[in-house]
């Protein structure tokens, strides 16, 4: 049970808003010591896993110069101009459309999109612009919600599309696990059984996008036009 101390440290540290990196390091050290590892062994583990997971950071760092440059030259502004021309566009529909594209493409094994390369420069500004075209200036609350839902759409599309493609990490991992246990399980069956959940996930996203549009309308009506304050 003592080994669960790391979970406790994380929960407490995140709640008290201590510097997140420090909390994570403390949790790692405490768990490592509780499990009987030495300081040097723990340092080696931190170093190894940090390096093994560089792939998480790579896309962000490589995308930022392009995204920054395009944003400096009016990428968001142009996206807004385009979206304002479409009468049917709402924030929810923009997010939903992106989720659909993301989910279908990733289920075919093509990894397009991502938070730094699609959501920040294109999806979120387009969704915001659609809401502005519809309602005029937005209250801060709505801007936060639109952006958060754009990120959520990326995650939902990505997570619940990828397991349908058989050559993807998750399926191969499950296959490897069963092989090690001496069980023969077909990758096709596992991919096939990912489809019902993919449909549930997309349906849930349709629902959330509708709620988003309704909430924007309600909040705009309630607060009147205001400055965006919840965003930096």
């Amino acid at each position: 049970m003592i080994k669960l101390i790391g979970v406790l440290i994380i929960a407490t540290g995140f709640t008290l808003r201590v510097n997140t990196l420090l909390v994570v390091l403390a949790a790692g050290l405490a768990t490592g010591f509780a499990a009987g590892f030495s300081w040097t062994e723990i340092m080696a583990m931190v170093g190894k896993y940090f390096v093994d997971n560089r792939a998480m950071t790579l896309p962000i760092v490589l995308m930022l110069p392009v995204v920054g440059l395009l944003e400096r030259h009016g990428l968001k502004e142009r996206a807004e101009v385009l979206i304002r021309r479409s009468k049917a566009a709402t924030a929810g529909r923009v997010v939903l459309l992106y989720t659909a594209v993301r989910q279908v493409s990733v289920s075919l094994g093509v990894n397009i999109g991502g938070h730094p390369s699609a959501v920040r420069p294109l999806v979120a500004p387009m969704a915001e612009a659609a809401a502005r075209a519809q309602h005029g200036e937005l209250p801060a609350k709505s801007v936060v919600q639109i952006r958060a839902h754009a990120a959520a759409g990326e995650n939902v599309g990505n997570f619940f599309g990828e397991d349908i493609f058989i050559a993807v990490g998750a399926i191969l991992l499950m296959k490897g696990f069963f092989d090690a246990q001496g069980l023969t399980v077909s990758v096709w069956a596992m991919a096939l059984w990912g489809i019902p959940t993919a449909i549930i996930a997309f349906t849930a996203m349709i629902w959330r996008c509708r709620v988003l549009d309704r909430r924007i309308a309600r909040d705009v009506a309630a607060s009147g036009p205001g400055k965006a304050e919840g965003v930096r």
């Binding site: 790391g6 994380i10 997140t20 990196l21 420090l22 390091l25 790692g28 768990t31 499990a35 340092m43 583990m45 931190v46 170093g47 896993y49 940090f50 390096v51 997971n53 998480m56 790579l58 896309p59 760092v61 490589l62 392009v66 920054g68 440059l69 395009l70 030259h73 009016g74 990428l75 502004e77 142009r78 094994g109 093509v110 990894n111 397009i112 938070h115 730094p116 390369s117 979120a124 936060v144 952006r147 958060a148 990120a151 959520a152 995650n155 939902v156 990490g169 991992l173 499950m174 696990f177 246990q181 069980l183 069956a189 096939l192 059984w193 019902p196 549930i200 959330r208 919840g230 965003v231």
Partner: protein, 320 residues
């Protein structure tokens, strides 16, 4: 032999991070000049030099970065953003051409994934086939950068500056996903998973088939929230709850169990700050003051999809 390896992509990132560090070191007006420069330089070392530096040394470098961040020595510099008028003028001038570089990123990803991994002359392969997705992404970014420089007529200096500005807005939270992954690794090595699986298996009557399903899906979601990673949860929870109870005791279908179980884990991913690269970093990227705004938007989604998964598994796993 492989001409383009994923290590080469990391080296590019490393070099760029060095450039960022050097730029900060040269800014006398930077509020946290030396701390920030050191932070980005150390990160650069872990990216470019990981092949040669022993893990334990990387560990110490990581601790140094954490200390710099926690003591407030890593901060963004003064920003010289283009004004909205300038941006609107450029948008007017460039029209839809501004989109081409942005679209080159997914285009390269598609072509890269389909083609690059298969190109070879004899034993010399163009890219590492196993890492083709990541390499395509890296190539896409570089090609898009070249296109963006051409389209906008901006200098490399401007691109480096804009990238550096955005990187510094993210600040130390950029390494949070890697830190959490390291924590997940330590959890796994320390046997935290076995304890969680044991607790769940003890706490609920898994002799009842549908209860076993709930315990398995719940265990996947819960443990994914703790680890921030459904993959890490899968082996532990499937080994601890799924196989012994659903498959061996009740004769459930392992393919259905695994597929829906993993997707139950993803519901946990939607709910946890531990999955920083999906939840916290996007909040930073989108410049939201509330770091948990993305998670909050995902709560209803995760709950509905999770409930759907449990119902689906209860209905199907013992039937097909």
């Amino acid at each position: 032999m492989k001409l383009i390896t994923v290590e080469a992509c990391y080296a590019v990132v490393g070099v760029y991070l060095f450039v960022v560090a050097a730029r900060i070191a040269g800014e006398a007006w930077h509020p946290r000049r030396w701390g920030s420069a050191l932070f980005w330089a150390l990160l650069a070392v872990t990216f470019a030099g990981a092949k040669w530096i022993p893990p334990v040394v990387v560990g110490y470098l990581v601790v140094t970065m954490v200390v710099l961040a926690a003591t407030g020595h890593v901060a963004p510099g003064a920003t010289s953003k283009a004004t909205r008028e300038e941006r609107e003028r450029d948008a007017e001038r460039l029209q839809n051409r501004i989109f081409w570089p942005a679209l080159l990123i997914p285009a390269t990803a598609v072509i890269g994934t389909l083609v690059l991994g298969k190109l070879h002359v004899g034993d010399v392969w163009l890219v590492e086939a196993k890492q083709v997705t990541l390499i395509s992404l890296g190539l896409g970014a570089l090609i898009a950068l070249a296109a963006a420089l051409r389209t906008t007529g901006a200098s490399v200096e401007t691109a480096a500056g804009e990238g550096s500005r955005l990187l510094q807005t993210l600040g130390w939270s950029l390494i949070l996903p890697q830190m959490l992954a390291a924590l997940g690794g330590i959890f796994a090595k320390s046997g935290v998973g076995e304890i969680v699986a044991g607790l769940v298996a003890q706490a609920v009557p898994t002799q009842v088939p549908w209860v076993a399903v709930m315990a398995y899906c719940g265990g996947m979601a819960l443990f994914t929230m703790v680890m921030g990673n459904a993959f890490a949860a899968f082996a532990v929870i499937t080994g601890g709850i799924g196989l012994p109870f659903i498959v061996n005791l009740h004769g459930g279908n392992p393919a259905i169990m695994a597929a829906i179980g993993m997707l139950s884990g993803y519901c946990g991913t939607l709910l946890t700050p531990m999955a920083a690269n999906f939840n916290l970093v996007p909040a930073m990227l989108l410049e939201l003051a509330d770091k948990n705004a993305v998670i909050k938007a995902q709560v209803p989604l995760a709950l509905v999809i999770f409930a759907g998964n449990v119902a689906l598994m209860i209905f199907c796993v013992y039937r097909f």
